[in-house]
Amino acid sequence: MLWSLLLLFALTLLLPLIPYAVAYVNPDAGGVPNPGSELWREVLNANVGATQVQGIDSGVLISEYGERWRQYRMQQLAPWGASVLGVMVGIFVVYYLVRGKIRIEAGRSGKRVRRYTTTEMTVHWILASTFVLLALSGLILLYGRWLLIPLLGASGFSVTATVCKLLHNYVGLLFAAIVPIAFFLYLKDSLFNLKIDGRWIKRAGGYFGGEEPSSEKVNAGQKMWYWVAMLGGFVLITSGLSLDFTNFFQQGREWLQGAHVVHTIASIGVIAFFIVHLYLATVGVEGALESMLDGHVDANWAKQHHDLWYQELQAGQDSAAPEDGLAAGGTHAGGVASPVVKD
């Protein structure tokens, strides 16, 4: 009696496993796969079907990439972008409160030296204005729903957003034209000098204490900004153009989603670096902004922040006929006695 009960118990446990065992030994033994489920699996994998409707992606019944893109935009881009930019602004507010404006230590000498040519200034300001317009319009399109609709109402914000979208599309073309010019114009000054720039980076430019390390006409931080802006600009332009001309290459949704992801990550990165540049060029460093306003800086400012460049200028002035303060900036005049690098 007991044994038969045990046997029964064992059989009830084991018998239902037989089909699994069969399927394990011979996976095809289950018979014909259900054609219906096979079909729907194909549909789910965005198998392109035939359709009478002429259009990009119209043969795709269902695409799950859209949901992935939605998750990216709403749950990653929006909060993380705001955090990154917010932290950047916060860092500089704190820095300003702690360190304050970086003054010209020796005071203004009254002697002006030329730092940038008119061409360099013009290109800078075209690049700057297009970049700021693009950054602001892009950020408004990303965050306006939360920040501006409560203020302007849906209809009001619609007007703002339309203007931003048009600005973004058209100013983007101008940006695409000016970035290559800027790239070649500032390239020579922005090539890294391992020894000088390495020391500058190691000491973080003296921004967090210590003496300001030696630098050439453009210091390592500015060089980094150049490369971030130019390479980031290149990424932004290529991805942006492919989002702009949506019918040109017959881009499908997956391409547009990918281009949008690349475009937004690059833009947050460049804007974050731009905040550094904006701070240092305006409120952060006394006497810096004027170099881009009239092309000249105070001689003591040059001596303090770009000592090697200043030495070059002086050497050039000694050998050339003196006129209008010092020689034109940036020229590697002959007869430069080995520049004295601050240690």
């Binding site: 019944l61 893109w69 619609s158």
Partner: protein, 211 residues
């Protein structure tokens, strides 16, 4: 309150495209815009199936979630509509929609898509019901007249069902029961968070259940 849903029975759809034509005619849709389309999988091979697809009026609509100007709204019947006076034509709804429902007129200058247009479940838009303005911007408002979308109403094989989700799923469940096999509430998993395409081949549970 009814919750309006579409359901296309792929075992019945014969790819006649009459729903597409009816939609275009009823709503006087411009060239280049297709609110509804029929897609055939494995066209010409044994086991080919066709499906009529348009905006499914999702419960958690991705288009509404990503819209930068928040122009979408949900009617009491669960129909997803949008305000074309607010839409800026950015195309984000098109990126996010799994069904490819949002459409854009292409006759605009470069980079500009024009206002988005999509299936309204024949429910018009935010303007006064059946006003000429509503018709020219959004097309017909049959729901306000107590009628269902024309695409489903005139479907000759009754493959395309439209109406209250409970009624639609009841009809479909009865069909599946009589048919004995091969029933599938296509797209319902994605659109209404119900087991459907995501869960494989099980229509007997809540996929067509009456909730």
């Amino acid at each position: 309150m009814a919750r309006m849903k579409f359901l296309c029975d792929a075992e019945r759809c014969i790819e006649c495209n009459a729903c597409v034509t009816a939609c275009k005619n009823e709503n006087e849709i411009p060239w280049g815009v297709n609110r509804r389309r029929v897609v055939t999988i494995n066209d010409g091979s044994p086991g080919e199936r066709s499906m009529s697809v348009a905006c499914t009026h999702c419960s958690d609509a991705p288009c509404a979630a990503v819209c930068p100007v928040d122009c979408f709204y949900f009617t009491d019947d669960g129909v997803v509509l949008h305000d074309k006076d607010i839409c800026i034509g950015c195309g984000y709804c098109f990126y996010a929609c799994p069904f490819g429902a949002p459409q854009f007129p292409k006759n605009e200058a470069f980079g500009s898509r024009g206002k988005m247009d999509k299936c309204t479940f024949c429910a018009g838009g935010p303007l006064p019901d059946n006003s000429p303005e509503e018709f020219s911007e959004y097309g017909s408002n049959r729901l306000a007249e107590g009628k269902l979308p024309l695409c489903a109403e005139m479907c000759s094989t009754r493959a395309l069902l439209a109406g209250d989700g409970d009624t639609v799923s009841e009809i479909f469940r009865e069909r599946v029961t009589w048919r004995g096999a091969s029933g599938f509430a296509w797209g319902w998993g994605v659109a209404y968070n119900k087991p459907g395409i995501r869960r494989g081949y099980d229509v007997e549970d809540k996929a067509t259940g009456g909730d």
